[in-house]
């Protein structure tokens, strides 16, 4: 139930002799949220995957505590020929829910994503935006302790974005942690107490969000 994670020592990860991340070390307590910022290719998504146990570090260790829901790409395990309900059951069970629990939350999942009419529709008949909303809605209902969010996937209309933002506020009130990879500095400031600034796989700065963001923006301006 605790949402603490720490990355000890140096953590590195390689693919064909390329160190995607090197010498990263930080820790966050339960209820604290972390923003991860940096230019494209700096290793942000890789970091999320390491925390989610999808990739394994070649050196160093990662300690996490609590249930982790990675939202790196939505609708993972979604299959076009299965219905909305069937896909929700599969996705929900991937994220740790039992079918019974998903069915209980089905109504609120459909409501949150605006797909009430489409419970038995095949996924391939929905637009990609609808599919993304479904994925997000199911993930949000799984009640994890730590959310890993790669903001690249946060699309959806204004109304949906507002819903998500208010859900995140609820999470923080419940002492859950969010790790948010984002290019939107306002979003990071809004939710994250601490921020990690990555560049070319190395940590340029880690600490209080305002300070780190200032460092990032000043760097960008110089270029």
């Amino acid at each position: 139930m605790v949402g603490i994670f720490q990355i000890l020592g140096g953590k590195t990860f390689s693919y064909e002799e390329f160190w995607a991340l090197k010498g990263i070390s930080f820790s966050i307590s339960q209820g604290e949220s972390l923003g991860v910022i940096g230019e494209n290719g700096s290793g942000k998504s890789t970091l999320l995957k390491l925390i989610a146990n999808i990739f394994r570090a070649d050196k160093g260790s990662i300690k996490t505590s609590g249930k982790i829901a990675p939202i790196l790409e939505l609708g993972v395990g979604f299959h076009p020929d299965l219905t909305v309900e069937e896909n929700s059951l599969v996705y929900g069970s991937i994220l740790g829910l039992r079918n019974r629990e998903v069915k209980e939350r089905m109504d609120s999942i459909l409501k949150f994503s605006g797909l009430e009419r489409f419970r038995d529709a095949k996924l391939k008949n929905l637009s990609s935006g609808m599919q993304i909303r479904l994925g997000f809605s199911v993930a949000i209902e799984t009640d994890p302790d730590i959310f890993l969010i790669d903001e690249a996937i946060a699309v959806g209309d204004m109304e949906f974005q507002q819903k998500c933002i208010s859900k995140f506020k609820d999470f923080k009130a419940q002492d859950k942690s969010i790790v948010l990879v984002s290019h939107d500095m306002d979003l990071v400031k809004q939710f994250c107490e601490k921020t990690l600034f990555l560049s070319k796989g190395e940590a340029v700065d880690f600490g209080e969000t305002d300070r780190v963001i200032k460092k990032y923006t000043s760097r960008v301006k110089v270029q």
């Binding site: 989610a52 990675p70 790409e73 299959h79 079918n99």
Partner: protein, 254 residues
């Protein structure tokens, strides 16, 4: 194994999903999978009982259960081989113990094969097969075969991530295996000096066990029972070791 308990819902969902997807968009659906062995049985019976006069008495009962048992093995391993690379988003975007993918693929095939056996029973009885209490041993033998299949599939699926031509090699192995296993013919046809080699093939003894029960209506021999069990457990161990060794790099390779 505690993974299995913790993720039991996921395994069930994945298995059901595999099963649904296989037959959802087809008309005949499940009955397609029955057509193939029945057709094979008819053709082979025609050739070996009528034309060539080489098969045993009541050849269909001799042949069909062996065919079904072989199909369980060959189709299971061939399909489960792809269960990791075929589910790449599940490996690269989220985490759960990856062996569950292989396991649920094998499980879906277990269900399918069991149904094939079940549906062919009336046909076999009609053709003269004797139903004895020995039939109760069949699920046990199929479970042993399942161990073998899971072990084999774990190795194959893991290797397939790194060497994409494993499935072609396995195809050849299965093709050879079909003829090197006493499916179409009985083990009595094999000269003594080759019997040892034949015993090394776990499927030989599994099929002999099934034949004992369904064709000869006698209890399988001790060796026909224990050796495949040991072989299955060994294969499971090997599969587990290989899989565990290769699994950390799955997400990078896919």
């Amino acid at each position: 194994m505690c993974d299995l308990l913790k993720y039991s819902q996921l395994v069930r969902n994945l298995t059901v999903k595999e099963f649904k997807l296989r037959y959802r968009n087809s008309i005949l659906g499940f009955f397609w999978s029955l057509l193939n062995p029945l057709a094979m049985m008819i053709i082979l019976t025609l050739v070996f009982s009528t034309l060539i006069k080489f098969g045993s008495e009541n050849y269909p009962i001799f042949l069909l259960p062996a065919l079904l048992a072989w199909r369980f093995f060959s189709i299971s391993t061939s399909m489960s081989l792809f269960s990791i690379i075929g589910n790449s988003p599940l490996v690269t975007k989220v985490y759960f113990p990856r062996w569950l993918l292989v396991f649920s693929s094998c499980l879906a095939n277990l269900v399918g094969s069991s149904l094939e056996f079940a549906v062919s029973f009336p046909i076999l009885v009609f053709l003269g097969m004797k139903l004895t209490y020995l039939i109760l041993l069949l699920p046990i033998i199929l479970s042993i075969e399942f161990l073998l299949i899971v072990g084999m599939s774990l190795s194959l699926a893991a290797l397939n991530v790194f060497y994409r031509d494993i499935h072609q090699i396995w195809d050849l192995v299965l093709q050879a295996g079909f003829f090197l296993t006493p499916i179409i013919y009985g083990i009595s046809l094999i000269p003594d000096r080759y019997l040892f080699l034949y015993s090394l093939n776990p499927m030989t003894r599994i099929i002999e066990s099934i034949r004992s029960i369904l064709y000869y209506s006698s209890l399988p021999t001790y060796e026909d029972f224990i050796l495949p069990l040991l072989g299955g457990l060994l294969m499971l161990l090997v599969g587990y070791l290989i899989f565990r060794r290769l699994e950390p790099r799955f997400a990078e390779e896919i």
